[in-house]
């Protein structure tokens, strides 16, 4: 990944980035938002964005080689983009993975401030894109959301009990502090605490469907109450749809289990 700031009259840089969104602007152009390693979330105008040639490049989740240039640094600037890896096409035939990809892109697009570097989150996102091909993608997605919360300054501490209980028997998360609470310490307040999914506990095994749903509930709570509490649109719709889709899928699976049982 090479980034260059050239000392010409034009401000410009080159980097690789993940397409977060492409908002139509005018008849043929779009304002494209990318997550890059060195520039963070950066927007730019793409001329002819919805032409037959470029349309496939600007799908959310695709990795592109980007060249940004502008006369003045503070301006929107213009992008020249070339597709490096078509991630969106790899997950299009899987409804859940596609929803997760859209959700991750929408969360970054809505939550990250522009032109503020988040290299850890960028590399985490790249790892998530690779893991989407595996069976553990759902647990990885929740861990990525926890990393996003941390990157935005809302770190969850899920390693030790905030109530002084055993660190080996963590079962809840405090909605006020985002810290884990052990089963013993949290039992009297369990109605007010959020359940901690099994795969996020120390020395845990693989995640079950129910754990994933609990994990999505957990991160959704903190996204809603901490990150997007002052956003006019609240938690992005793509994240809400992922949650809903997973809950429906889980309900159907459980329903069929009950019927066969």
């Amino acid at each position: 990944m090479i980034k260059m700031h050239t000392a010409t009259s034009m401000e410009q840089w080159q980097d690789q980035g993940i397409v977060l969104s492409a908002r139509r602007h005018g008849e043929n152009g779009a304002v494209v938002s990318l997550l890059t390693e060195k520039e963070g979330r950066a927007c730019g105008y793409v001329r002819g964005a919805f032409s037959t040639k470029n349309r496939g490049t600007l799908e959310a989740g695709n990795i592109v080689d980007a060249q940004w240039s502008s006369r003045v640094e503070g301006n929107l600037g213009a992008y020249t983009l070339e597709l490096a890896r078509g991630t969106a096409a790899r997950v299009m035939d899987d409804a859940m993975k596609l929803a997760a990809l859209q959700s991750a892109c929408a969360l970054c697009d809505a939550a990250l401030p522009e032109r503020e570097t988040h290299p850890g989150l960028y590399h985490g996102f790249m790892a998530l894109l690779d893991i989407l091909d595996s069976d553990i993608w759902a647990a990885a997605y929740i861990m990525w959301e926890i990393a996003l919360l941390k990157e935005l300054g809302f770190s969850l501490d899920l390693t030790k009990c905030a109530g002084g209980g055993s660190n080996q028997a963590l079962a809840y998360v405090s909605p006020k502090t985002g810290r884990a609470v052990s089963y013993e310490a949290g039992e009297p307040y369990k109605d007010k605490l959020l359940p901690l999914p099994g795969f996020l506990k120390p020395n845990s095994g693989p995640a079950e469907s129910e754990d994933i749903l609990i994990g999505l509930n957990l991160t959704y709570y903190f996204l809603e109450h901490w990150v997007f509490t002052h956003h006019s649109h609240g938690v992005p719709e793509a994240r809400q749809r992922l949650h809903l889709r997973f809950a429906e899928r889980f309900a159907k699976t459980e329903g069929s289990k009950v019927q066969t049982g």
Partner: protein
């Protein structure tokens, strides 16, 4: 020139502004078209105005499938020679025209009127999905296949997955168009996303 046009608000400027708002046209093209129309008033401008008026007054959405026609239900829905066992779901009326051009499909259609898009805030309630469900449930001849002919984009496939989920309990076979190498396409010139989907949807050669 534009400022001068804007400052006067005569019928010519009004016409140019309206033409300039059409897809693919800017101010300059709009001015050229306006002048061309004015140079052929009786041969082109008056018939065009009449055609626009007639289209605006008579063309309506088909209450069954969402297609455009002067009669409701539309010609495709009225055609009794068509196969009632298949419904092809498309995003726009232009997609109906594209499939009809091929002559390869003789079933029914259902036009959604767009695609689900979280970015643009288009949800299921903004599309003709509920009317599709009602149409299937109340059909005299129950369809045995729903073909999802939606674009191979993130929004297109999200919509396809949503509809497939909604129809899961109906027991109707839900299929989608193949994704992959276009006719005349050479592998060397294809993007990796197209090749990936083509590999995933490969079929037996014999």
């Amino acid at each position: 020139m534009t400022d001068r046009l804007n400052s006067q608000d005569g019928p010519l400027e009004h016409l140019i502004r309206l033409l300039g708002g059409l897809p693919g046209l800017g101010n300059r093209s709009a001015r050229r078209i306006a002048l061309h129309l004015l140079s052929k008033r009786s041969a082109l401008m008056v018939p065009l105005a009449a055609a626009l008026q007639q289209a605006a007054e008579n063309i309506k959405d088909c209450s069954t499938c969402g297609n455009l026609d002067v009669i409701d239900p539309c010609a495709i829905c009225r055609d009794e020679t068509r196969d009632n066992s298949k419904i092809c779901i498309v995003a726009q009326v232009s997609d109906v025209w594209a499939i009809e051009r091929t002559g390869a499909y003789r079933g029914r259609y259902h036009v959604l009127g767009g695609l689900l898009s979280a970015l643009d805030g288009i949800g299921p309630q903004d599309l003709r999905i509920e009317s599709l469900i009602t149409r299937i449930e109340t059909a005299q001849t129950r369809p045995d296949e729903i073909i999802l002919a939606l674009s191979a984009t993130v929004d297109g496939q999200s919509t396809a997955h949503y509809i497939a989920d909604r129809l899961l309990s109906s027991g109707i076979s839900v299929t989608r168009l193949a994704h992959g190498v276009p006719v005349g396409g050479e592998l060397d010139y294809l993007d990796d996303g197209t090749i990936t989907t083509a590999l995933k949807s490969r079929s037996a050669a014999a």
